[in-house]
């Protein structure tokens, strides 16, 4: 096996014993990228000439192990453009807190950024200014989104592991589509400082990895209190690798009936049911539960997320950074910069969000959505009083064809139907590979737990993973 095919924990063993050095890992990755990325297009080429130069000294826990970063996480000295024209050439003068933490742990920030839907607006990575990423399992399919670049890079061994961001499923859904492990931590667990905001009350950075152990490892490295983020929780971070026991005997797992209704692809359904049987065979107690407000999650999300986005994205106006249209007065400069700088989906969401907050509509839309959000949160609270975790499909379908849903935004929005509630409730959730459709497309199993109980996710996911081989199957490229 080539080095780029190994997991992070396998490579860390080799780095520790000095069997290899970070230079050889980088070399292996760059060769792989040269060979397969013209097909996958997981990385964006917006940096100008890129140097794959390993840092001089390997140190810390990670000994120079490279990490791939989504294009919406600020990396000083590397362009961070959210795959949008409006942030063209933006080089942040600072690192996001997660980058800072990773660097201090000895990580090497991979010099190419991962592709994504513009400003994380999308579920397919088709909304990138730099063009779509392909699904490594089937190149005419989407990798999911918005962290499609991160997921595809990990799936195609073009990355060891990667960071993505998840506002309504943007880590879990592409992880599911690409057959990798994707974790959305509890809101407040990982600092958002330096994550270019889409919807501040929902966004969370998380890992995309080849297996559960890597997920636990990377989650541990990026988690923790950050005094620069008012919404980060001052609570100690457990050693997540200790949850990797493989023992889930007696675990109480709820299966929400609202996630198994019309719209769920029958093939996906049977793969998920098999996975649930597997968990049962491992000693878990499985019982059906109800999350009655599930059907309202998508509409609530598209009000709250777009309202926040409309305000968060107001700063992209051509004054301080990024793209500016030429105009002889300020108002025209604003309007043309934003007309030319934002793609269709960004405009759609900004307009929807602006409308939801505008005079006369606030109560009917925004305020009502915040109230229904409370109901959705209460659904989960109720179930977690009795259950350790909830298991469901990550997405109603496997990866769909590139271009299939671009003309129907509403249909695109509904592909997040199983992931959105988790963000609204602020709870953690993980997607792990659990099988394939007949077409050979991966399917992901979603596990959700109560706030700050990532350990439960790792424990359950690890037990499942260690008793299946799905994560070991790689796409042929």
């Amino acid at each position: 096996m080539e080095l780029n095919q190994l997991t992070a924990h396998e490579l860390l063993e080799k780095l520790k014993s000095k069997e290899i050095c970070s230079r050889t890992i980088l070399l292996s990755l760059s060769q792989r990228i040269e060979k397969t990325d013209p097909k996958v297009k997981a990385y964006v080429r917006n940096q100008g000439p890129v140097k794959f130069a390993p840092q001089d000294e390997a140190f810390g826990e990670l000994n120079g192990l490279p990490v791939t970063i989504k294009d919406n996480i600020c990396t000083s000295g590397l362009n961070t453009e959210c795959c949008s024209k409006i942030l063209r050439g933006f080089r942040p003068p600072y690192d996001a807190t997660v980058i800072d933490k990773l660097k201090k742990a000895g990580a090497q920030i991979f010099p190419l950024k991962a592709n994504m839907d513009e400003f994380a607006f999308g579920s397919s990575t088709e909304n990138s200014f730099f063009g779509p990423t392909a699904n490594p399992w089937k190149l005419d399919c989407v990798p999911g989104g918005s962290s499609g670049g991160s997921a595809a890079a990990v799936a195609s061994d073009e990355a060891i592991w990667a960071l993505g961001s998840d506002t309504g499923g943007s880590i879990r859904q592409p992880a599911s589509f690409c057959g990798v492990v994707g974790l959305k931590p509890t809101y407040g667990r990982v600092s958002r400082y330096g994550l270019i905001a889409f919807a501040s009350s929902l966004d969370q950075i998380g890992p995309l990895t080849k297996d559960v152990e890597d997920s636990a490892l990377l989650c541990g490295l990026i988690s923790g209190y950050d005094p620069q983020d008012s919404t980060s929780i001052n609570q100690s971070v457990p050693d997540y690798t200790k949850s990797l026991t493989g023992d889930i005997k007696g675990l109480k797992i709820g299966i929400p009936k609202e996630y198994f209704v019309e719209g769920l692809d029958p093939e996906v359904k049977s793969v998920i049911e098999e996975a649930i049987d597997k968990l049962k065979s491992l000693g878990a107690v499985i019982k059906q539960v109800s999350l009655p407000h599930t059907e309202y999650a998508v509409p609530v999300y598209y009000i709250i997320a777009t309202a926040e986005a409309s305000s968060n994205l107001a700063r992209f106006d051509g004054v301080q950074y990024g793209y500016r249209a030429q105009a002889d007065n300020l108002l025209q400069m604003y309007k043309e910069t934003r007309a030319e700088g934002f793609g269709q989906e960004a405009k759609r969401r900004i307009l929807l969000g602006t409308f939801a907050l505008s005079h006369g509509y606030y109560d009917a839309y925004y305020l009502r959505a915040l109230k229904v959000r409370s109901l959705i949160k209460q659904d989960f609270d109720r179930v977690f009083q009795e259950f350790d975790c909830i298991v469901a499909p990550t997405s109603p379908t496997a990866a769909f064809k590139i271009g299939e849903r671009t003309e129907d935004p509403l249909k695109m929005y509904l592909s997040d139907i199983y992931t959105i509630s988790v963000n609204l409730a602020g709870i953690p959730a993980i997607s792990v590979p659990c099988g394939f459709t007949k077409q050979g497309l991966p399917v992901g199993l979603q596990i959700m737990a109560k706030p700050f109980d990532e350990e439960m996710l790792f424990k359950t996911a690890y037990a499942y993973e260690q008793n299946t081989d799905w994560h070991k199957i790689k796409p042929k490229l």
Binding site: F90, T231, V319, A327, K335, K347, R348, L351, Y413
Partner: protein, 95 residues
């Protein structure tokens, strides 16, 4: 809730986005669809439900009044599309 083109034009102005006529047609149709779907929410009785704008049960997050290093003007203006001396420069403001 129906949303007409005039409303979209007004909203686009608030958001400072110039819309081409064909874009306006398309976006109107899209938003009409989406808002139709969102109307699902109006069937719920939320009279007695309190809104959740913050999911975390934390409050009073404050920082001490201690200075931190600022950026140099050079660094602050590094990404500027247009500058004059140490100022950001923008086209003339017309009210």
């Amino acid at each position: 809730m129906a949303i007409d083109k005039e409303t979209i034009k007004h909203v686009a102005h608030l958001a400072r986005i110039d819309l081409q006529p064909n874009e306006l047609d398309k976006l109107s149709a899209n938003l009409q669809d989406i808002l139709g779907f969102i109307d699902k929410l109006s069937s719920l009785d939320v009279e007695k439900v309190s809104p959740t704008s913050h999911i975390l049960p934390i409050s009073n997050v404050l920082r001490e009044d201690e200075p931190r290093t600022s950026l140099t003007p050079e660094k602050a203006l590094e990404n500027a599309p247009s500058k004059k001396g140490s100022f950001f420069s923008v086209p003339k403001v017309i009210e």
